[in-house]
C-alpha cells in the first residue's frame, strides 16, 4: 500500500540561490494526521508548494499515493486538497462559484459539483451567503470557505497550511472539530502550524523542520524525549535555540 505522501531527497533552490529545502525526506502513511512544525522560513510552505505544484522542486521525489507529483501531476493533484495559509479567494466570485469552479478544475461533472457544493456550504454554515461575493465575507468565513474549497473534490490527502493563524478561539475549536472528523473518516491530513497545542491536540506524529531540513520526527512525547525535555514546547524551543524561554525555566527564575 503506497504512502499517502512519500518525499525523498527533496531539494528546492530558488533562483536567488536560497536553498529552502535541503534534501528533505518524509513519509506519511494513509489515514495519518501528521504535523509539520518549524519556525518561519523553515521550509514548511515550500514543502507544501512543491507537493501541490505551486513550486517546482529542484531535485528529489514526491509521490502522492504512489503517483509522482511532477511526472504524473494530474493523478497526484487529483488526490490532494490544499487550504493555504493566506486566504487566496477570487474576489469576483460568489461562494457557490468558488466551489463550482474548483470542482470543475478537478473534472467533477455539473450534477456532482452542485450536490457537493450544497453539502459543503451547509456543513460549513455558509449557505446563507452562497450568492455573495467572497470579498464580503468575514475572516472566519473566508477560512471556512477555503477549507470547504479544499474538500470540494473529495481529496485523499488534505494539506492545511496554518489553518488557524489569526482566527478567534471559537473558530479555531470549530475548525479542529471539522478536521478531526475528516481525518476519522479516512482522509490523511498534513498540518503545518505555529500552535504547538494545536499540533498536540490533532496530530498523531509530527516532524520538526528547520533550515530546510527535517531534524526530528515522532509523536509529541517522543520528540520531547529526543530533545531531552519534558514537553513538545520545550523540544521546539530547543530546536529554535531559545530554551531560555522555557516556561519551566521562567517559573524557576520567578520563584
Amino acid at each position: 500500500m503506497p504512502e499517502a505522501l512519500h518525499i525523498s531527497g527533496l531539494v528546492k533552490r530558488y533562483p536567488t540561490g536560497v536553498e529552502a529545502l535541503k534534501g528533505v525526506s518524509l513519509d506519511i502513511p494513509q489515514g495519518e494526521f501528521f504535523g509539520l512544525l518549524g519556525p518561519n522560513g523553515a521550509g514548511k510552505s515550500t514543502l507544501i508548494h512543491c507537493t501541490t505544484g505551486l513550486a517546482s522542486p529542484t531535485s528529489g521525489q514526491i509521490e502522492i499515493f504512489g503517483h509522482n507529483a511532477v511526472n504524473h501531476y494530474g493523478e497526484a493533484r487529483a488526490l490532494v486538497g490544499l487550504a493555504p495559509q493566506e486566504p487566496n479567494l477570487d474576489h469576483f466570485l460568489t461562494l457557490e462559484e468558488t466551489l463550482d469552479f474548483h470542482g470543475g478544475y478537478f473534472g467533477m461533472p455539473k450534477k456532482d459539483r452542485r450536490e457537493r457544493s450544497k453539502e459543503l456550504l451547509d456543513a460549513f454554515s455558509l449557505t446563507d451567503k452562497r450568492q455573495e461575493r467572497t470579498r464580503t465575507l468575514s475572516g472566519g468565513m473566508k477560512r471556512r470557505l477555503i477549507l470547504a474549497r479544499a474538500l470540494m473534490h473529495r481529496p485523499e490527502l488534505l494539506i492545511l497550511d496554518e489553518p488557524t493563524a489569526g482566527v478567534d478561539v471559537e473558530l479555531r475549536l470549530e475548525l479542529w472539530q471539522y478536521v478531526k472528523r475528516i481525518n476519522e473518516e479516512g482522509t490523511t491530513i498534513l498540518l503545518t502550524t505555529h500552535y504547538l497545542e494545536e499540533a498536540e491536540q490533532l496530530c498523531g506524529r509530527m516532524a520538526f523542520i528547520n533550515g530546510g531540513e527535517i531534524v526530528a520526527e515522532g509523536t509529541g512525547p517522543a520528540l520531547a524525549k529526543q530533545f531531552g525535555v519534558s514537553s513538545l514546547e520545550d523540544a521546539y524551543l530547543e530546536l529554535v535555540g531559545r530554551k531560555e524561554l522555557s516556561r519551566a525555566k521562567i517559573d524557576e527564575a520567578i520563584a
Binding site: M1, P2, A4, Y14, Q30, T46, H49, T52, G53, L54, A55, S56, F65, G66, H67, Y73, G74, E75, R77, A78, L79, V80, L82, P84, E86, N88, L89, D90, H91, F92, L93, E97, D100, F101, H102, G103, G104, Y105, F106, G107, P109, K110, K111, D112, E119, A123, F124, R149, L151, H153, R154, P155, E156, Q177, Y178, R181, I182, E185, G186, T187
Partner: protein, 278 residues
C-alpha cells in the same frame, strides 16, 4: 457537521472516479470551467469590460467619421466612415483581448487566486487555452457589438467572409496570446499599462486604423511596413471592404507564424511555471 470524504472502499492510489453523465471528459470539464471563470470575470464588470470599450469605439466613429469624415469624404474611393470602421472593429477586438488577459492573470497572481487553478490537475495547455479564449471572447463580443451597431448605422459590407472570419480569429488569438504573455511577465499593474499605452496603442494607431498607409509620405510609408498591426488591419479591411494596402496572403502568413510563435512561447512559460509557480 459531517463532510463526506472519498469513499474508503476505493483504492486510494487511484484518482477519484468521475462519472461521465454530462458526456464531457474530465479534461473538457476542466477546460470549460477555467474558461467559464474567465468569462464570468469580465461579464461581472461588463460596464467596464464591454460598455466602456463600446463607448470608446463610438467616440472614435463620431470624431473621425462624422466630424473628420465630413472633410475627408473618401479614401481610395471608399467613404471615410466606412473605411475607418473595419479598423475600429479590429482595434476593439485586439485591445479587449489583450487587456482582459493581461489584467485577469496579473490580478489573480496578486490575489494568489491563480493557485487554485495551478494546484489543480489542469495541464499547462488547458490553462493557456482557457486564459487565451477568455480574452478572445471578450474581444469578439465587443467587436461584434461594434460591427452590429456600425452595420445598422452606416451599413458595413462584408466582401470576403472567408478572409474576414479566419483573419479576425487570428488577430483575436494573437492579441489574446500577447495579453497572456504580458500578464504572466507583469509584476505590477504599471507593467500592463506600459505595454498597452506605450506599445500596443501606438502600433494600432500608426498601423492604419484611420488612414491608408499608401497615403503616407516617406519614410513613414516604409516604416509602416515594419508595424505588425498594419498587416492585421489590412487583412480585416480587405475582408470587409475588398481594399488592402498589404498582401492578403502575406498578412495571413505573417499572422499564422506570429500566432504560432507566441503560442509556443506562452506554452513554454506555462509548462515551466515562469512567474506563476515558485
Amino acid at each position: 457537521m459531517s463532510v463526506e470524504t472519498a469513499p474508503r472502499e476505493q483504492p486510494p492510489a487511484a484518482p477519484p472516479p468521475v462519472p461521465r453523465r454530462s458526456g464531457m471528459s474530465a479534461s473538457q470539464i476542466r477546460f470549460f470551467s477555467l474558461l467559464r471563470r474567465e468569462v464570468s470575470r469580465f461579464m461581472k464588470i461588463k460596464r467596464q469590460t464591454v460598455g466602456a470599450p463600446l463607448l470608446e469605439t463610438f467616440l472614435y466613429i463620431s470624431v473621425f467619421g462624422a466630424a473628420l469624415g465630413s472633410r475627408i469624404k473618401t479614401i481610395e474611393g471608399i467613404d471615410y466612415v466606412t473605411f475607418v470602421v473595419p479598423g475600429l472593429i479590429m482595434m476593439a477586438l485586439s485591445v479587449n483581448a489583450f487587456s482582459n488577459n493581461a489584467s485577469s492573470i496579473l490580478q489573480q497572481k496578486f490575489q494568489r487566486a491563480i493557485d487554485d487553478q495551478l494546484s489543480s490537475p489542469a495541464s499547462p495547455l488547458e490553462l493557456l487555452l482557457a486564459f487565451t479564449f477568455g480574452g478572445f471572447l471578450r474581444g469578439l463580443l465587443v467587436a461584434l457589438l461594434t460591427f452590429l451597431a456600425s452595420a445598422a448605422l452606416i451599413g458595413i459590407p462584408i466582401e470576403h467572409p472567408l478572409v474576414l472570419l479566419p483573419g479576425l480569429f487570428l488577430v483575436g488569438f494573437f492579441f489574446a496570446q500577447l495579453g497572456v504573455l504580458v500578464g504572466v511577465r507583469a509584476e505590477q499593474f504599471d507593467d500592463v499599462s506600459f505595454a498597452q499605452q506605450f506599445v500596443l496603442q501606438p502600433l494600432i494607431f500608426l498601423g492604419g486604423v484611420f488612414y491608408s498607409a499608401s497615403l503616407l509620405t516617406e519614410p513613414f510609408e516604409t516604416l509602416t511596413q515594419f508595424n505588425p498591426v498594419h498587416y492585421m488591419i489590412s487583412l480585416v479591411r480587405y475582408g470587409f471592404l475588398d481594399f488592402a494596402d498589404a498582401s492578403v496572403v502575406g498578412s495571413f502568413a505573417f499572422l499564422v507564424v506570429a500566432c504560432a510563435a507566441l503560442f509556443a512561447l506562452n506554452l513554454r512559460l506555462f509548462t515551466t511555471g515562469y512567474r506563476l509557480r515558485a
